[in-house]
Amino acid sequence: MARHIHVLKVHHLTLSFPTRKDPNPKPILDDVDFGIRDGEILGLIGNSGSGKTMTSLAIAGLLPEGAQITGGSIKFRGEDLLTMKPRERRNMLGKDIGMIFQEPSTALDPLMKIGKNLDEVLVAHGVKDPKERREKILNMMAMVGFDDAAAIYERYPHQLSGGQRQRILIAGAALLAPKLLICDEPTSSLDTVTTVQILDLLKGLCRKLQMTILFISHDLSAVSNFCDRVMVMKDGKIIDKDTTSDILTNPKNAYTAELLTNARLDTRMLGIERAHVDYSSSPVLTAKGIEAGYSDTMFGKGSSNKVLKGVDLEIYPHEILGLIGSSGCGKTTLIRALLGLLPHSGTASVVGRRTGAVFQDPVSCLNPSHTIKWHLNEALRVYEKKLPRSERMAKITAALEEAGLDSGFLLRKPHQLSGGQRQRVAIAMCLIMNPGLIIADEPFSSLDASSAAEILKLLTDINRERGTSFLLVTHNIHIIRQIAPRVVVMDGGKICESGLTSEVLSNPKAPATIRLLDAETKLHGA
């Protein structure tokens, strides 16, 4: 077979979702044209909705129902994929083209053991001998970093961590050493330490198995350390492509430059100022000896699974307190305990005004069948039961405006909003209660770079103008460094280190802090 410089060549690809009402809608992919060279790692970045995922699904032949390719071609090693029979195309999946998705927690069949989950790839591609299949799987599992592959083989997905599951998924995709591996946001739900491990693993596999990778991400730091070349996508078009170093250091395209500024979440560039914190005043939140856990026994009590092992915490007025730690250290459990959502022992007292909360996923926080107005009204009603209608509306509009949305959004429903807009609604729901403290759990991580930058600015504005304190949980140490004067680090259900951010991060003492900072350096560069 002739050697092709390009493993994959996408040629003027146009795709849309035509309906009976609108036979010629605005294309989702508009004249997409690029090639992936043999052995390279090509990055694809862009905001949500720019068409990155659609591009990858078009290549794999897994487009959702209703999508129609109206022009162009996709050639894999010289063969036109679009004129192939569906059966032939399906046969290429797993064998010639592998895929890895964003959410490792749900991407494995929960009813099947890990071994079975991987086994189906080999069965589907005609490896008949069970012994040979098992051996192949165990080898691949060892290659993706499982020392105890035989034991993991017999486990169920829910018994593994997110990072382990992602490694299993990588093993599944690489099992037959496909020429092209498409990775759609493979690290965006993982913490920094795990992200670095996964990227290292992918790089190693790429070399060992001579794979070519199309790497889709909105995480620019991942892209910059991992990819040889980068393409930027906007509104279904590829508007910029260049080598990674050129794109990152010397972007020629204005949009690329903007995307990079946003993605760096650089407070100076975003015009964010810090609030002054008076540490002599009494704290808004004092927590002492918080212990909590999840019971896992026959009768609901007895030896429970303790997650928090005595946490002390103080947050002062006007302060943004950063809370960091790798997955499973108890951050989320602590937040749930502080919000009173989880039974706990120890005391947590909030002085003065109420506590609001903003969570990671703005989609599941809003009720899909109700309007934005209903949501705000609901939040208001909890505290202000007997407010006249006009005042109620005034408060709702004011909160929405402060969160950066005009009153035109009042009658919309959550699905008509973008991720960033939904997060703004969640923040407006906090603001309407006039909180003294807002607990924000990874408020940026489900958002693309532009929305994340906007939300970061909004939260710091609220902190400065209203004097609202924040407990900010994030795995983005870069943000903590810039906006949080003080930071606490959690490890194994305890606070292992705390103090002024500048001191803790420049002179870390606890092993957990050192691990986090190492990973950050690896990912973002020094």
Binding site: A60, T106, A107, D109, P110, L111, E120, A124, G172, M298
Partner: protein
Amino acid sequence: MTGKQTVLYIIRKVAELLATLLLVSLLTFLAFSVIPGDTARVMLGANATQEQVEVLREELGLNRPLPVRYLSWLGGAFTGNLGNSTQYRTDVAKLIANRLPVTLGMSILAFVMIIAISYPLAILSSRKPGKFADQVCSVLGHILFAIPPFVLSLLLILIFGSILKNFTIGNYVAPNVDFGIYLQSLLLPAFAIALPKIAMTFKFLRSSMIEQKASDHVATAKSHGLSDLKIMFKHILPNSNVSSITVISLVLSDILGGSLIVEQVFNLPGLGRLLLSAISQRDFPLLSGIVFYLALVTVLLYFAADIFSSLSDPRIRIR
């Protein structure tokens, strides 16, 4: 699960069963004692004198205080003696046992039909939701669900009994006499019972399969190159089964209680009709016997559903 845990689990389930039975019997007894009507009066008819009624009341022990009557019945029940029916004057357990072949046979047949019809239809529908096959199935499901059971029964009699003439109505034969005719006589009533339940199970399975189709692990399976058929049988079906177990156990406990209307229309001596006569004749021993049976069936089914769930989903541990 360790051996000790298993033993604890079984002890807990048996305790649950006993508590349920106790509560159900108490409620039945209370409900029965507050509704108007006198067992003795009903038994003797309107022409009996007050003295005759009094004598019978004394004989049946109806003049004793309420708690005493309940405790004496309860004592009997726990020693395996459900008492004698006041209207039939025979052992309650025997009466129920006589009716069970009808109800059990009908339930099993109906259950087989429900599974055999709703699963293929749900698979067909969920393959292409919103398309022709799906719409036909959904409309049919709504119609079946909306028609009252007695109309459905009459329709079936009309079609199979009067027009096609391959089914004789009201021709029940006990299984030990002729098993073939026994089955035949239960086929149509079982179908009448099954139809609305098929609609219900189908609707549930369909939505659960459509949900599974959109799940991440199905996307992974697709990216592994599996065929649609394989994905359906290896991923979608087993996963939707997990949530269907509860629904199917509810359906089963419902049909095992016997269907009064269908039994009436097809003239079958089933539990439903026995229950009706127990209520109308103020036959407390019989009524509580039947209620006892229903509670037992329900608890046992939930127990079975628990076991099945934990067997089919490794995330559910028996608790």
